[in-house]
């Protein structure tokens, strides 16, 4: 046993007590830190799940809006088509050469690559 009546014994006892306190404090800080990490991970996972749901809703809403916009554009195209064809001079013919040049030009565009209008050429006159 440690003899506390002597200075050496007191020093040893203090050292042991300090070591015990240090271990307790270190253990407590480690547990606290681990708890914080667990909490942080849980917060992140919850947040990511929520963000994914909100982003999905946003995308669905945006795509639906795009569909309505495209339908409106098609309506405008039909309205404009009628107005154009009803205009004076709309039935005037375009020369065969200009008509051919216009179609050939369109067929050089990527948008019409593989288009049936470009694959099938009219019989030469």
């Amino acid at each position: 046993m440690i003899d506390l009546s002597k200075t050496g014994g007191k020093i040893i006892a203090l050292a042991i007590a300090a070591a015990i306190v240090g271990l307790v404090v270190w253990g407590g800080l480690t547990l606290f830190g681990n708890g914080l990490n667990i909490r942080r991970t849980a917060t992140l996972e919850r947040g990511q799940a929520g963000a994914a749901v909100e982003s999905g809703k946003d995308a669905i809403g945006t795509v639906a809006g795009a569909g309505r916009r495209d339908a409106g554009i098609d309506d405008q195209t039909r309205e404009n088509d009628h107005a154009i064809r009803s205009a004076e001079g709309a039935s005037a013919p375009v020369s065969d050469a200009a008509d051919r040049a216009g179609r050939d030009s369109l067929c050089k565009r990527a948008a019409y690559r593989g288009s049936a209008d470009c694959v099938q050429q009219p019989d030469p006159k």
Binding site: R39, A52, T77, I84
Partner: protein, 80 residues
């Protein structure tokens, strides 16, 4: 276990194909060609709209993911 959203996966697969060009003129009159030009412009409007929408969907998705990480990184003592 949750993971950051793959934001680009939110874009419809058919949007990756692009917008089709307007149909060729039905005949060879002035009206046919002008109507085709107008229809083509309508298709351009659709394509431009999708470009804006795509960028918006991805930007907002990325902003949500950044906010999520920032929230998780807040110090334990910061309650606001």
């Amino acid at each position: 276990m949750a993971a950051p959203t793959a934001c680009s996966s939110l874009i419809p697969s058919e949007w990756r194909e692009g917008v089709e060009g307007a149909p060729f003129p039905e005949g060879s009159t002035v009206g046919d060609w002008i109507a085709m030009v107008d229809a083509q412009t309508g298709q351009l409007d659709k394509a431009n709209g999708r470009t804006v929408d795509t960028i918006g969907i991805i930007e907002r998705c990325e902003a949500r993911d950044r906010a999520t990480v920032a929230e998780a990184r807040k110090p334990w003592w910061q309650f606001w």
